[in-house]
Every structure is written in structure tokens, then in C-alpha cells.
């Protein structure tokens, strides 16, 4: 009877030792990938910010599907790592991607927060990544060789947004943010670029329902424009409550707001709002637009889908060129220079895409309309 404790303990130990023995043989075969090469999606597919990840994955899926159709004998798989945008969950997923020798490249991580938590891992493992959406300017300052982004960072977008606001003749601009890493970062850049035209109106809590305190402050300051740094759900609530409170200031915001969710949340108050993004309008490349609609039951590509498509096609080009190891693919990307659907794809040392521009969008008749480049 007593012995059974010992017996259980001993068998646990033996089992573990078997594991060590089996595990030991693993290392030699770590580089060998059996089966198809994979391009991984890394970001949120579920959870609060799932929408954005789903857009990205659709772009990636389209690129891979086109490749597989054209190259029946060199099939590529898509592997999704759903981090829910949570920096806590991201490391275990990143390690899994790194341990899978078939994963040759990452489209992602989608958000700046999780990027900060895991990009060092990808760097150490030499696993190349191209993010279609993480726009925090600090990310490219870490000296990561594997890091690339398929669109410009917020340090380009912020001044772009500011110059648009100035060009519109606004003299007193209330700057509000949602106190998130992305929103506050962008709002601070816009505020700096606006100089003395900016009025700091502090942050709001995106989860809260009521923004009357910040709106009262905006009213009191007598602003003729408001720039909001944050995501679409909060932006919609803010725009609507501002209109309800009788604030007539022109509403500006960045790429986090560039989603139909903004129009749904703000209702008629969204009309005339101007949004900026370093991403290209969906109709800038009719060929891509059509392919995307065909693949997704007529649905339009949403924010970042085209950037994800571009990111994936760079990896696919590398594989088509016969590059199989992560190192070779990384070298290929670093010297890549060709036109993508959104822009010329060519990266500098830090991983910033060189040919990038800021686009302005306007909400008109309940839809997002591209209104051209910002100079």
C-alpha cells in the first residue's frame, strides 16, 4: 500500500527520462522541415481586437491561395498563431512558431505591444517577419534584422495628419487619445507637429461609455478641430457624443479608426470626418480589389488586408526563388525591391519601408472614401 506512492513517483521519473532521451535526438533534425513550408500569421483572431487580425489573415490567405494555384508542386501552408493581441500569451506562441522548422516567415505580429514582447525572440531565431500593421515608431529602433514593416510608422503618419489639419485651415486643434500605446503615441506626434495650434485635452478611457468630461473640456477650449488617437470603437463613441453635445469641430483621426466600425458607432456624426493612414485605399489597385472580392464573397478588403497581401507575396517570392532556409529568406527580403499592390516594397536597415506615403480618407455618405495623398 505504502509503496504505491513510490511507484507513482518512480514511474513519473522514468517517463520523464524517456522524454529526455527522445527529446535529445530532436536537435539534429531541428532544421529539417517535413511537409510544406509555412507562412505564419501572428496576431489576434479572437478577443477584443480580433477584427483587425481577421482582415490581415484574409490578405495573407489570398496571396498564398494564388501562389498555390500557380505552383501546384510547391504548396505553401498558412499557420495561424492567435495571440488575442495579448502580450502575455504571445511568447509561448512565438516559441512554438520558432520551434516549427516549416515556418519560414511571419506576417505579423499585428500589434505593437505583442511585437515588443516577442520580436526579440524572432531576432534570436533568425525568423524573418513583416508586420502589416504594427506602426509604433520605436519598434524599428531595436536593431532587429528580422524586422520589417509593410507600411510606414506613426512617425510618418503623425506629421502627415498634422499637415492635413493645417492645410484645412484649422487654428485650434484639440488632441485627445485613448491612452493606449498606439493611440497616445500617435496623438503625441500629431500634437508636437501641430505646435502651438494644438490644445492638449488629455486621455479618455476607451472602455468607458461616457466621454462628457473630455467633451466639456473641448467645448470650453473652443476648438475648431479635434484629433483623436485611438481605435474605431472609441472614436465612434467620441464623434457621436461630441455631435450630441453641440461641438461642431471637424473630427480627425488615424488608421486605428479607419474601419466601418467607426461609421456604425458614430452614425450620422461620422459624416465628414477625415482619417489618415499610411495604408493605401482599397481601390488604389483594382486588380487586387477584384481578386480579394472574388475570394471573399464580394467583401471589400478592409484595413491592412492589402499590406498583409504584400507582406505574404514577398515571402512567396523568396520561396519561389528557391530560398528554403530562414537565413536565405531574410537576405532575400533585405535586398528585395519590387512593386507591391500598395507601394514599392524596399526596406532600409531598420526595417522601415522606403517608399511610403500618408493617405487621407473622408467619411462620405456613410462610406470610407480615399481623398488622395497628403504631401
Amino acid at each position: 500500500m505504502k509503496k504505491s506512492v513510490l511507484r507513482v513517483g518512480a514511474s513519473m521519473l522514468v517517463l520523464s527520462l524517456v522524454g529526455v532521451a527522445c527529446g535529445g535526438s530532436d536537435d539534429s533534425s531541428a532544421d529539417a522541415c517535413e511537409g510544406n513550408s509555412k507562412i505564419a500569421f501572428f496576431g489576434a483572431l479572437t478577443g477584443e481586437a480580433g477584427n483587425l487580425g481577421i482582415n490581415i489573415k484574409k490578405g495573407l490567405d489570398l496571396a498564398v491561395a494564388q501562389h498555390n494555384e500557380a505552383n501546384p508542386d510547391a504548396q505553401i501552408d498558412v499557420e495561424a498563431y492567435d495571440s488575442q493581441g495579448d502580450p502575455d500569451q504571445a511568447p509561448a506562441l512565438a516559441d512554438k512558431a520558432i520551434a516549427d522548422a516549416c515556418v519560414k516567415g511571419i506576417v505579423g505580429p499585428a500589434f505593437s505591444g505583442e511585437s515588443a514582447a516577442v520580436n526579440a525572440k524572432f531576432e534570436e531565431a533568425g525568423l524573418p517577419l513583416i508586420t502589416p500593421s504594427a506602426t509604433n515608431p520605436d519598434l524599428s529602433k531595436n536593431g532587429w534584422d528580422v524586422f520589417h514593416r509593410a507600411l510606414a510608422g506613426d512617425d510618418k503618419q503623425g506629421p502627415g495628419a498634422a499637415s492635413r489639419i493645417v492645410a484645412d485651415g484649422k487654428m485650434k486643434v484639440g488632441v485627445i487619445d485613448d491612452n493606449s500605446e498606439y493611440g497616445k503615441g500617435l496623438a503625441d506626434i500629431v500634437q508636437t507637429s501641430l505646435g502651438d495650434k494644438a490644445v492638449e485635452l488629455n486621455s479618455l478611457d476607451p472602455e468607458a461609455a461616457d466621454y462628457s468630461a473630455v467633451i466639456t473640456a473641448a467645448k470650453d477650449a473652443g476648438v475648431d478641430a479635434v484629433f483623436f488617437g485611438g481605435y474605431y470603437a472609441a472614436a465612434g463613441k467620441l464623434a457621436k457624443q461630441m455631435a450630441d453635445a453641440g461641438v461642431t469641430a471637424q473630427f480627425y483621426s488615424g488608421d486605428g479608426t479607419l474601419d466601418v466600425g467607426f461609421i456604425e458607432a458614430a452614425g450620422p456624426a461620422a459624416e465628414g470626418a477625415i482619417l489618415t493612414c499610411t495604408c493605401a485605399p482599397k481601390d488604389s489597385n483594382p486588380e487586387f480589389l477584384k481578386a480579394f472580392q472574388d475570394a471573399n464573397k464580394g467583401e471589400d478588403p478592409a484595413t491592412y488586408a492589402a499590406e498583409a497581401y504584400d507582406a505574404a507575396s514577398v515571402f512567396l517570392a523568396a520561396m519561389k526563388d528557391g530560398k528554403t532556409s530562414r537565413g536565405d529568406i531574410l537576405k532575400f527580403i533585405n535586398s528585395y525591391d519590387a512593386a507591391g499592390v500598395t507601394k514599392q516594397l524596399n526596406w532600409d536597415e531598420a526595417g522601415e519601408v522606403t517608399g511610403s506615403a500618408v493617405y487621407a480618407y473622408e467619411i462620405k455618405d456613410g462610406a470610407i472614401k480615399g481623398i488622395g495623398l497628403i504631401k
Binding site: 488629455n202 479618455l204 472602455e207 461609455a209 461616457d210 462628457s212 473640456a217 456613410g366
Partner: protein
């Protein structure tokens, strides 16, 4: 007077703060009622509120089939139509929340009191079979069919367990409440039409200025919220003080065991208490959608924490305390935001709570649902 933001905008902040505070107060009533009677933090009450907002959404967009926009503008109604519609929406929201609260009590709390009944057993059995079936197959319809088939035998076993009448320690109630709260909001997040996205509710009421006071425009929706909340609270106080059932509530709040001996149907009173809290939350939910036109699966969480804070601030278990705490919290948040900036709003709310509890350990008005006439 110095030229500070808070002084320049004092009255405007007051109006909006009172409106939000009224909603806090109505939700706080639910916490306070249940706490007064059961000495239990009904953590899932926040989700009862959330269910109410979805009730309001269904009532307006499905039952009354009002679109979000008509010809690019809000679907405003006027006159009697508006009043009837608003009352109808409020009743549906109250119904949703009220039923939700009662079901919650029967399923997640009553079995823990060693008093589980067939209804609780059946629901719990269904849920058990459902999550076990999820391990094997993940298709909502098949899961439901499997779960329904397995419900009968499992609920039989559960009933036998309930007959033992085992009572759970106090902490278990809180965890059960947390579990129920998570499950309710996630269920809405997973299975409602747009999942975890934000929902818009149709706006029926044109938000015109009703009158101007101290140089500040008071909007009609804010006025309705404040007056509506006060009316509901008066009705509740009358119910608790004047009716037979209300007397039962006070009796059980004072001493459940003695009440039972004296012939009060304690289980019925507990159901009434939950229903009352639910109805108040439903009313709050409708008023909430009236002002903010939106809801989401996780909208209850923060509002619930705030309302609970309000209940404790005023003195939990005390109906007047809930009102005072709610209004005070709404005002403090708004004034605090104007002084320190919006990002410090929640910090200010909690610091005020800490300071109040430091000097008055049972809240501003103390606990009293049972002790004195409320």
C-alpha cells in the same frame, strides 16, 4: 474666482455627472438589495445589466423593427409614439434583466445555499453536458442536441446531490458569481449576431435642449435619465416599505433564520429581491442605451465595478446609500477628470472610496436595509 476648467464648466460637468451617476445608482441598488438580504456580493449583477441593454436593443430593433438610420438620419419618433415606444423598450429591458437575475439566483447561488431545486439542476445539467460535448465537437447545434439528450440523467444525479443540502462557504458564492458573470458575457460575445463587436441601438429620441440652467443646456435625455432614476428608486422604496413582500424583504435582511421560523417564505423573498435588483438594472440599461445608443458584450464589467463602488461608498445594504453613492461617484468622476485629466478618472473614484471608508468604515450612510426603515 480663479479661471480653472472645473469652475468654468462646473454646471455642465454637474449635469452629465448626475446623469451617469443615476445609472450607477440604479445598478448599485441591485448590489445593495442582494447584499442586504444575503450578505453576498452579486458579482454577476453587472451582466444582468448587460443583458438588459441587449433586451432594449432587441425590443427596438427586432420587436419594433426600427432601423438604425432612416435616409441617413436617426429614426426619430415624436409625441405619443415616442412615449409608448420608450415605455415598451423599458419594460422589455426590465423583463430581460429581471428574468436573468432570477435564473442566475436559481442556478448559481441557490444550490450553494443547500437548497437547489429541479430548475437549477436541469440548467446545470444542460451546461455540464454542453461543455463536455465541446471537447469532442464544436458545432453549436450538435452540442445543443447532445446536451439536451444528456440533460435528463445528469439532472437526476444533480437532484440527488442537492437533496444532501450541503451549504457552501461564503467565498464559494463569490467565485460562483464570478464564473456566472464570465459565462454570461462570453456567451453573448460568442453567440450574438455580431459577436464581440460594439452594437448600436436605434435612437428614437431627438437630443434637444430641454431648458437652460446656470448657463448650461440641459439635454432632454439627461433629464429623462435623472428623473426616471429618481422615480424608479421612489417606487422601489415604496415597495420595500409599504407592501407585504417588501416587509418580507426587510425581515429577511434583518434575520433570515428568525424570519423563516416566523413563517416567511425565505426562498420566495430571495427571488423577489433578485427580481427587484434585476428590474432596476433593466431600467438602468434602457436609460443607458437612451443616452449612449450602444452596447457590447463586456459593457457590464466596468459599469458593474463602478456601481459596486457606488454601493459601498453610500453604505452597502442601504437603498438611500446606493442613490447617494451613485450620484456622488458620477460627480466625483466628472469633476476629477476636469481637474486632473480624464486618464485619472478611475484612480480618483477609487481614492475617494478609500478615503471615505477610512473615516466611515461602513460607507457614508452605513448598512441598514434590515435595521431601520429605509
Amino acid at each position: 474666482m480663479p479661471d480653472w476648467l472645473i469652475i468654468r464648466t462646473f454646471w455642465e460637468l454637474t449635469v452629465t455627472g448626475l446623469a451617469l451617476g443615476s445609472i450607477y445608482a440604479l445598478v448599485a441598488l441591485g448590489y445593495t438589495l442582494v447584499y442586504g438580504v444575503l450578505r453576498l456580493i452579486n458579482f454577476a449583477h453587472s451582466e444582468i445589466f448587460m443583458v438588459g441593454t441587449f433586451g432594449a436593443l432587441l425590443a427596438s430593433s427586432q420587436f419594433l423593427s426600427i432601423p438604425l438610420l432612416e435616409d441617413g438620419n436617426y429614426p426619430y419618433r415624436t409625441g405619443m409614439t415616442l412615449i409608448i415606444f420608450l415605455v415598451f423598450i423599458m419594460l422589455i429591458a426590465m423583463l430581460f434583466s429581471g428574468i436573468g437575475a432570477v435564473v442566475l439566483e436559481r442556478v448559481a447561488y441557490r444550490p450553494l445555499r443547500g437548497n437547489g431545486d429541479a430548475f437549477g439542476a436541469i440548467v446545470l445539467a444542460f451546461l455540464t453536458a454542453f461543455i463536455v460535448s465541446l471537447v469532442f465537437v464544436d458545432q453549436a447545434k450538435i452540442n445543443v442536441i447532445i446536451a439536451l439528450l444528456a440533460t435528463a440523467p445528469i439532472s437526476y444525479a444533480y437532484m440527488r446531490f442537492f437533496k444532501q443540502g450541503r451549504k457552501a462557504p461564503r467565498l464559494a458564492f463569490l467565485i460562483s458569481a464570478i464564473g456566472a458573470s464570465t459565462a454570461i458575457s462570453e456567451a453573448v460575445g460568442v453567440w450574438s449576431k455580431h459577436g464581440r463587436d460594439q452594437y448600436q441601438t436605434p435612437r428614437l429620441l431627438e437630443k434637444k435642449t430641454l431648458f437652460t440652467m446656470f448657463g448650461t443646456d440641459v439635454r432632454i435625455d439627461y433629464a429623462i435619465v435623472i428623473v426616471g432614476a429618481l422615480l424608479m428608486m421612489t417606487a422601489l422604496t415604496l415597495f420595500v416599505n409599504k407592501t407585504r413582500l417588501g416587509r418580507g424583504v426587510r425581515a429577511v435582511a434583518q434575520d433570515a433564520e428568525t424570519s423563516r421560523i416566523l413563517g416567511v417564505n425565505v426562498d420566495l423573498i430571495i427571488i423577489v429581491t433578485f427580481a427587484l435588483g434585476g428590474v432596476m438594472a433593466g431600467g438602468a440599461a434602457m436609460l443607458f442605451t437612451l443616452v449612449y445608443d450602444q452596447t457590447r458584450f463586456n459593457i457590464g464589467f466596468i459599469l458593474g465595478v463602478k456601481s459596486f463602488t457606488a454601493a459601498v461608498l453610500g453604505g452597502i445594504g442601504n437603498l438611500k446609500g446606493a442613490l447617494l453613492g451613485g450620484l456622488l461617484l458620477g460627480l466625483v468622476e466628472n469633476y476629477g477628470s476636469a481637474i486632473f485629466g480624464g486618464q485619472w478618472k478611475d484612480v480618483i473614484a477609487f481614492v475617494v472610496l478609500l478615503v471615505v471608508l477610512m473615516f466611515r468604515p461602513t460607507g457614508l450612510l452605513g448598512e441598514s436595509l434590515g435595521k431601520a426603515r429605509v
